[in-house]
């Protein structure tokens, strides 16, 4: 499907690099994952990307495991493991050293300033994720309505998200989404 001679290596450096730029967590890296997986490397179609996102949201564990699914679709089990370790490893090492550094000088005001500066960035990135995913999964009006309803419900109530995902699955099965 893709002409890359060594897809494992491409997965490793792509996600290793991305992990260091993923400010604000996995969900804010989704536009970049979409750009890399769909537009740059043609690892999957738009529709497959939306499916993979849905599966990762239904599964237990951290949301970052969407990279496990992308890795699997590129190079099977090995691809899944390499993508996961590449996305988690570098940043885990950074986290370890920074936390040790800060443990010695907790009085510094830099962490607070950097954090305040990063908050709007990470919200903007997550907003972009929402837009890109909405464009890939909401291709009909009923689908868009389901998305809006889920957003309003999740924003206004404390309903367990799992129930909403289940309801979405039922609506889809019934053919409402189209």
């Amino acid at each position: 499907m893709n002409s890359d001679p060594n897809p494992i290596w491409t997965l490793a450096w792509t996600f290793g690099l991305m992990s260091l730029f993923a400010v604000g967590g996995a969900n804010s890296a989704i536009p970049e994952m979409h750009r890399v997986a769909v537009d740059v490397h043609h690892w999957m179609t738009d529709k497959q990307f939306a499916d993979v996102f849905a599966i990762s949201q239904m599964s237990p564990g951290p949301n970052v495991l969407i990279v496990t699914l992308i890795g699997y679709s590129v190079a099977g089990v090995a691809g899944a493991l390499v993508a996961t370790l590449a996305m988690c490893g570098p940043t885990a090492v950074v986290a370890y050293y920074v936390s040790r550094l800060l443990a010695r000088s907790t009085r510094s005001r830099w962490p607070a300033i950097i954090q305040a500066a990063l908050v709007p960035l990470s919200i903007g990135l997550m907003g972009a994720s929402g837009l890109i995913l909405a464009l890939t999964s909401d291709r009909t009006w009923p689908a868009a309505l389901v998305t809006i309803a889920a957003a309003v419900l999740a924003f206004a109530t404390r309903l367990n998200p799992l129930w909403m995902l289940l309801a979405g699955g039922c609506l889809g099965f019934a053919g409402v989404i189209g």
Binding site: A54, P62, T68, A80, T91, S129
Partner: protein
Amino acid sequence: MPPDSPPAALPAPDLPTISAPTPPGLLELFVAFAKMSLAGFGGVLVWARRSIVDQNRWMTADEFNETFALCHFLPGPNIVNLSVVFGSRFRGIPGGIAAFAGLVGPPVVIVTILAALYARYGEIDALRRILAGVSCVAVGLLLAVVLRMMMPLIVKRDLVGLLILAAVFVAIGLLRLPLPAVLLVAIPLSIAITLIVRRRMTA
């Protein structure tokens, strides 16, 4: 590192200030993080907090908030960072690895199985319809998180923050520019603006 940090001079009367009765061992770290990870549909943070602060009392609520804030401003998946920082605080590098393995290992097995099933049966019409429905809801959930996170900025009328937010949204969401390039410009800019705004507020 023992959790007897300096600000113990002011004992808060109501809060449980003693965090760890016994620091967790390697196996305990692995099991605790595996449990919270497997319980965490759509996000592990809530469960991490419940396990670390409420059930095991390994950290006080304040310690947990500080640790999470640190992990939030570091790049990468926050909860993965949290597992490493938390585990290594009690048991050094092996502790960090044990917590990380607990958090990521079991769900990776599950997700890999799901991926194999999807690769095999993903073209079946009923499954496609179900996934289409689930993904519509999943996108809605993500939008709700974005709204929730935006509320403090709106309440504070933080125009500068909202402007930066909008700029990043346009650059990544509409123009589809590469993330590293956008962040290399946006991060220094945002830090500089935050510094200037804070100076003005204190001056």
